[in-house]
C-alpha cells in the first residue's frame, strides 16, 4: 500500500511540474517558444552544470565519510596485502583522473555557455596534444599492467609442495562441504557417480576403490591452520558456483566436470581478527543495528535476532538458483595446535562408510 502511495505522490509531483512549466511558459506572454535554447537557458544550465561538479565531488566525499567503514578490513592472507596495495594505487590514479576531467568538463560547460553574438574558436586538431594525452595514459597503464600481472602470476602460480594443506571445497545447491586429504596428503579420487554409494553417507562422492580416500575427512565448517599455505581444489556437484572468500582476497569458480584451484596462506587467526579495531567497531555497529531490528521484531511478536560475532566467511558468488543468497560456510583460522586437535576429532571416510 505504501509503495502505491509513494508512486502516486511521485506521479502527482510530475504532473505538478508539467503544469507549473506550462503556466511559466504561458505567463511569458509574447515570447516565442522556439524550443531551442536561448541565452537565458544557457545561463541557467551552464550554472547548473558547474553546480553539478560540486554534487559529484559531494557525493564522492559523502559516500567515503558515511560508507567508508563498510569496505573490507585488512586482508587476512599473505597475498592479500599485495592485493590491497595494488587496489589503493589503482584507486589513487583513477581518482586523480576523475577529479581533473570532471572539473574540466563541468567548468567548460559553464564558462563557455552560449551567448548570442559570441563566436566559438575554430580549433579542429592538435596532433601534439593528442600525442601527449595518448602517451601518458599508455605509460601509466603499462605500469599498472606490469604491476598487476606480476601480482597475478604470484597469486595464481600454485606449486604442489609438501608443506601445503590440500583442501577440497565441494559446492552444491545450496551448501558447501570441505574435504581434507588426511595424513597421506592426497585427496582420494571422487566423482558424482559415487554419491549414491553407502546410502548417501558418501557426501562428496569419494571413489571407495582409491586407498588415498580412506583417510579423507569431510566437514561442513572449514578450519584452517594459520601461517600454512592452503591449496584449495574446487568441485561442483551440479551447477556453477563460486568459492568467494573476500577476507582472504580469494575467489574461484566451482565448475561441474572440472577441478579448479586457488591457494593462499592465512596470516591471522579468527581470534586475532576479532580483536582488530576495525572489526570491533564493525561488530559493535552491526549489533546495534540488530538490536534495533530485534526491538521491532519482538513488538510484532517475532523472535529477536541473534547477536553477531565476527567470523571469516565462504560465500557462493555465481548465480546458482533460488538459495544462491544463502549458500555459506564458516571459516575458522586457528593455531596449528587447535587445528590438529579439531582434526583429530573428525571422522575419516573409512570410518563413515563402515
Amino acid at each position: 500500500m505504501n509503495v502505491l502511495l509513494i508512486f502516486s505522490v511521485l506521479i502527482l509531483i510530475a504532473i505538478a511540474i508539467w503544469q507549473v512549466t506550462k503556466i511559466f511558459e504561458l505567463s511569458q506572454g509574447k515570447k516565442v517558444y522556439t524550443q531551442v535554447a536561448d541565452d537565458d537557458d544557457n545561463n541557467w544550465n551552464g550554472k547548473l552544470m558547474f553546480g553539478f561538479l560540486f554534487f559529484i565531488y559531494g557525493i564522492t566525499i559523502f559516500s567515503f565519510v558515511m560508507y567508508g567503514d563498510v569496505l573490507l578490513p585488512k586482508a587476512a592472507s599473505e597475498h592479500g596485502s599485495e592485493y590491497d596495495n595494488l587496489m589503493w594505487i589503482s584507486f589513487a590514479i583513477i581518482f586523480f583522473v576523475q577529479t581533473i576531467t570532471q572539473a574540466l568538463l563541468h567548468y567548460f560547460s559553464y564558462k563557455y555557455r552560449g551567448e548570442k553574438g559570441k563566436k566559438a574558436l575554430f580549433y579542429a586538431d592538435n596532433d601534439r596534444l593528442e600525442a601527449i594525452w595518448t602517451i601518458i595514459p599508455v605509460i601509466v597503464l603499462a605500469g599498472l599492467i606490469l604491476y598487476g600481472l606480476y601480482t597475478w602470476t604470484d597469486i595464481m602460480t600454485v606449486e604442489e609442495n609438501d608443506e601445503a594443506l590440500v583442501v577440497e571445497l565441494y559446492a552444491q545447491q545450496f551448501n558447501w562441504k570441505a574435504r581434507y586429504a588426511g595424513d597421506d596428503g592426497v585427496l582420494g579420487d571422487a566423482n558424482v557417480r559415487f554419491l549414491q554409494d553407502f546410502e548417501g553417507r558418501n557426501l562428496v562422492g569419494i571413489d571407495a576403490t582409491d586407498p588415498n580416500g580412506f583417510d579423507d575427512v569431510v566437514v561442513q565448517e572449514l578450519h584452517l591452520p594459520v601461517g600454512r599455505e592452503i591449496i584449495f581444489k574446487m568441485r561442483s556437484q551440479d551447477v556453477l558456483h563460486s568459492a568467494y572468500m573476500p577476507f582472504f582476497r580469494a575467489q574461484m569458480n566451482c565448475v561441474p566436470g572440472m577441478i579448479t584451484e586457488f591457494a593462499f596462506t592465512p596470516n591471522i587467526t579468527t581470534e586475532e581478527m576479532r580483536q582488530d579495531s576495525d572489526i570491533v567497531a564493525k561488530v559493535k555497529k552491526i549489533n546495534k543495528i540488530r538490536a534495533d531490528k530485534s526491538k521491532e521484531l519482538i513488538a510484532e511478536g517475532d523472535v529477536a535476532l541473534d547477536p553477531y560475532e565476527f567470523d571469516f566467511l565462504l560465500l557462493c558468488n555465481k548465480i546458482c538458483g533460488a538459495s544462491h543468497y544463502n549458500m555459506q560456510m564458516k571459516i575458522i583460522v586457528e593455531t596449528p595446535e587447535e587445528y590438529a586437535k579439531w582434526m583429530a576429532e573428525q571422522q575419516t571416510f573409512a570410518e563413515v562408510i563402515q
Binding site: 553539478f52 596534444l129 598487476g148 558424482v192 551440479d238 541473534d306 538458483g321 555459506q328
Partner: protein, 595 residues
C-alpha cells in the same frame, strides 16, 4: 547500385500511393522503420525499468510484503513477499531487455536507420525489404520475450548471461524450463534481426554515399554506426552458436557444456562438456556487445556536441581511429569476464593486457570531447546536456573498468555490486543518455515537431542527480564484498550495515523512474502537439537537415545534394554564419581542412 535504390532514384519526388499498412505497418522506408524501432525499444524499456524498481524494492526492504508485488507478481509473491526465484527472473529479464532490446535495437535500430541514408545522401537503405524484415523480426522477438514472462514455471532466471548448467537443466531452477526455451527462441530471432540490419547498414554506407561524400567527410555518427554494424556481424553469430549448442544440450541430450552432474537425486548422463566453453562463446559476443551499445551513443554525442558547441569536433582523425581501435580491441578482451572461471591463469594475463589497452582510445575520446567544449559557444539544449552527461558518466564508469580489467583486482570484486555499478554507469547511464540525446536532437527530423525544452531540462537534471545517487554508493557495497544476484543480504549478519545504503539507492531509483515519466509525456505529447519544426532547427551541417520536414520516399525532391566539405565547419573563419553545411561548395580561395 541495388535495384531497390535505382528504382527510388528514377522515381524521386513522386509520392506513390500508400495504404495505411504499407505506410505505417509493413513500411520499407528507413524513416518509418526507425520510428518503429524507437517505439518498440521505449516500450520494452518501460518494462525493463519497471522490473528494476520491483527488485530494488525487495533489496531495500528485504522480504517485506508489498501490495504492488501481489498485484504485479500474483502467485510469485505469496502474501506480498517476493519469491526468490522470481527475484532472479526479474534481474535476468531486466538485463536481457535493457542490453539487447533497448540499448542495441532501440539505439542502433533507431538511429542507424534514421541517419545512415539521410547523412550519407542516399534515398533509402540498400534493401528496404531486408530492413522491414529486420524490424519485424525484432518485434517478434520482443513479443516472445514478453510471452515468456507468463509461462507457468516462470521466465528464464539464470542471469542475462544464462550460464549452463543452471540454464540447461530445468531441475536446477524452474525458470530453466519453458521460460528458458522461449528466451533462447526470442534471442535467436533477435540475432537474425540484428544481423540483417547490420548487413544493410554496412552495404549502404559502402555503396550509397552521394557524390563528394568520401569516407573522410562522413559525420562521426556514420563512422560509429558503420563500425558497430561490423562488430555485430563478427560477434553475434557466436552468441547464436552458443544458444544453438545450449538448445541441443537442453533438448537433444548433447554434452557441449555439461559433464559430471548430480542433481535432484540422480546422476545425469552428460559427459565431457564444459560450462567454460559456453562462457567463452557467450563473452566473445558479450564484450563486443557492450561496444555495440556504446559506440552509437558516442557517435551521437560527437555530432550533438559539435553542433551545439558551434565548433568542429576536436581531433576528427583521432576520433575515427579510436572508434576503429575500440572495435578491434573489443574482439580480444572477452576473457576479462572470465578471470576466475577456472581457465588457465595465463589467459588471464593476456586478457588483462588487452583490456587495459582498450582504455587508451576511450580516454582519447573523452579528452577530445572536453577539448571540443573549450572555447565553444555552447547551446545548452537538452540534447547537449545529455551528451555532456554521457561524457561525465562515461569517464566515471570507464575508470572503474580499469580496476575490473586488472585480473588481480577482479579476484575480490568479480560478480559483486562493484561490477553492477561499473556497467550501469557506462551502459545503463552513458549509453542511455546517448539514446535520450539522440531523441531530443532528432525528434524534429523524425516527427516534424520540437520537444518541449523545459520538460527536457527537468528530465535531465533529475535523472543526472539520481543516476549518480543510485550508482555511486553501489561501488561501496561491492567493495564490502556483497555478491550480485542475491535476493537479500540478510542471510549474512556481516552485511547488515549495507542496509541503509540499499535504501538510499532504491529511493534514488524510484525518483529516477518517476522522472522518466516526464520524458515519456514530453515524447508522446510533442509528437502530436509539439511546436512545428523548421527544417534545420539546430543549425547543423549534416545532410539530414537539407531534406524537407515532411517525409516521403526518396528523402529529397530532385537531385540528392552533393558534398563539398566535412561535417564540422562550425564557426569557420571567413564565413558570416557560424555553420557551413556539407553541401555548400567551397568559396573562392577557401581551403578544405585536410584529413
Amino acid at each position: 547500385m541495388s535495384t531497390a535504390a535505382a528504382h527510388i532514384e528514377e522515381d524521386h519526388g513522386h509520392h506513390h500511393k500508400e495504404t495505411f499498412v504499407t505506410k505505417y505497418v509493413f513500411s520499407q522506408d528507413h524513416k518509418m522503420i526507425s520510428k518503429q524501432y524507437l517505439i518498440t525499444g521505449l516500450f520494452m524499456g518501460i518494462i525493463g525499468i519497471a522490473m528494476s524498481l520491483l527488485f530494488r524494492l525487495q533489496l531495500a526492504w528485504p522480504e517485506q510484503p508489498f501490495g504492488v508485488f501481489e498485484v504485479l507478481l500474483g502467485k510469485w509473491a505469496p502474501d506480498g513477499v517476493m519469491d526468490p526465484n522470481v527475484y532472479l527472473a526479474l534481474v535476468t529479464i531486466h538485463g536481457t531487455i535493457m542490453v539487447f532490446f533497448v540499448l542495441t535495437a532501440g539505439l542502433s535500430g533507431t538511429f542507424s536507420n534514421l541517419l545512415i541514408p539521410l547523412q550519407i545522401g542516399a534515398r533509402d537503405m540498400a534493401s528496404g525489404l531486408l530492413n522491414m524484415i529486420s524490424f519485424w523480426l525484432f518485434f517478434l522477438s520482443s513479443v516472445i520475450m514478453v510471452i515468456s514472462l507468463f509461462v507457468e514455471a516462470g521466465p528464464a532466471a539464470a542471469g542475462w548471461t544464462i550460464y549452463p548448467p543452471l540454464s540447461a537443466l530445468p531441475q536446477a531452477q524452474p525458470g530453466s524450463g519453458t521460460g528458458m526455451t522461449l528466451w533462447l527462441v526470442s534471442m535467436a530471432i533477435f540475432i537474425a534481426s540484428s544481423l540483417l540490419g547490420s548487413l544493410n547498414y554496412i552495404v549502404t554506407v559502402i555503396n550509397l554515399r552521394t557524390k563528394g561524400m568520401s569516407m573522410t567527410r562522413l559525420p562521426l555518427t556514420i563512422w560509429a554506426f558503420f563500425v558497430t554494424a561490423i562488430i555485430g556481424v563478427v560477434s553475434f553469430p557466436v552468441l547464436l552458436s552458443a544458444a544453438l549448442l545450449l538448445i541441443m544440450d537442453r533438448s537433444f541430450g548433447t554434452s557441449f557444456f555439461l559433464s559430471d552432474i548430480f542433481i535432484q537425486g540422480e546422476v545425469l548422463h552428460y559427459q565431457g562438456g564444459s560450462p567454460v566453453l559456453y562462457e567463452h562463446l557467450f563473452w566473445f559476443l558479450g564484450h563486443p556487445e557492450v561496444y555495440i551499445v556504446l559506440l552509437p551513443a558516442l557517435g551521437i554525442t560527437s555530432e550533438i556536441i559539435a553542433t551545439n558547441a558551434r565548433k568542429p569536433i576536436f581531433g576528427y582523425r583521432a576520433m575515427v581511429a579510436s572508434i576503429l581501435a575500440i572495435a578491434f580491441l573489443s574482439t580480444i578482451v572477452w576473457g576479462h569476464h572470465m578471470f576466475i572461471s577456472g581457465m588457465n591463469p595465463f589467459l588471464g594475463s593476456v586478457f588483462t593486457f588487452t583490456t587495459l589497452l582498450i582504455a587508451i582510445p576511450s580516454a582519447v575520446k573523452a579528452f577530445n570531447y572536453i577539448t571540443t567544449l573549450w572555447k565553444g559557444n555552447l547551446q545548452l539544449n537538452p540534447a547537449m546536456l545529455f551528451s555532456i552527461g554521457l561524457v561525465s558518466t562515461f569517464i566515471t564508469g570507464g575508470l572503474t573498468g580499469i580496476i575490473l580489467g586488472d585480473s588481480t583486482l577482479d579476484i575480490n570484486v568479480h560478480d559483486t555490486y562493484f561490477v553492477v555499478a561499473h556497467f550501469h554507469l557506462v551502459m545503463g547511464i552513458s549509453a542511455l543518455y546517448g539514446l535520450f540525446a539522440g531523441v531530443y536532437h532528432w525528434f524534429p527530423k523524425m516527427f516534424g515537431r520540437m520537444m518541449n525544452k523545459n520538460l527536457g531540462y527537468v528530465h535531465f537534471w533529475v535523472t543526472a542527480v539520481c543516476a549518480y545517487g543510485v550508482f555511486f554508493p553501489m561501488h561501496f557495497i561491492g567493495m564490502a564484498g556483497l555478491p550480485r544476484r542475491y535476493y537479500t543480504n540478510t542471510a549474512f549478519p556481516y552485511f547488515d550495515d549495507l542496509a541503509n545504503i540499499n535504501v538510499l539507492i532504491t529511493v534514488f531509483a524510484l525518483v529516477a523512474g518517476a522522472a522518466q515519466l516526464v520524458f515519456l509525456y514530453n515524447f508522446i505529447h510533442s509528437m502530436f502537439y509539439g511546436k512545428e519544426a523548421v527544417q534545420n532547427p539546430w543549425r547543423s551541417n549534416t545532410l539530414e537537415w537539407t531534406a524537407p520536414v515532411e517525409h516521403f520516399h526518396g528523402n529529397w525532391e530532385g537531385e540528392i545534394p552533393h558534398v563539398h566539405r566535412w561535417a564540422y565547419d562550425y564557426s569557420k573563419p571567413g564565413h558570416d554564419e557560424d555553420f557551413v553545411p556539407q553541401h555548400i561548395p567551397l568559396k573562392k580561395g577557401e581551403e578544405e581542412l585536410q584529413h
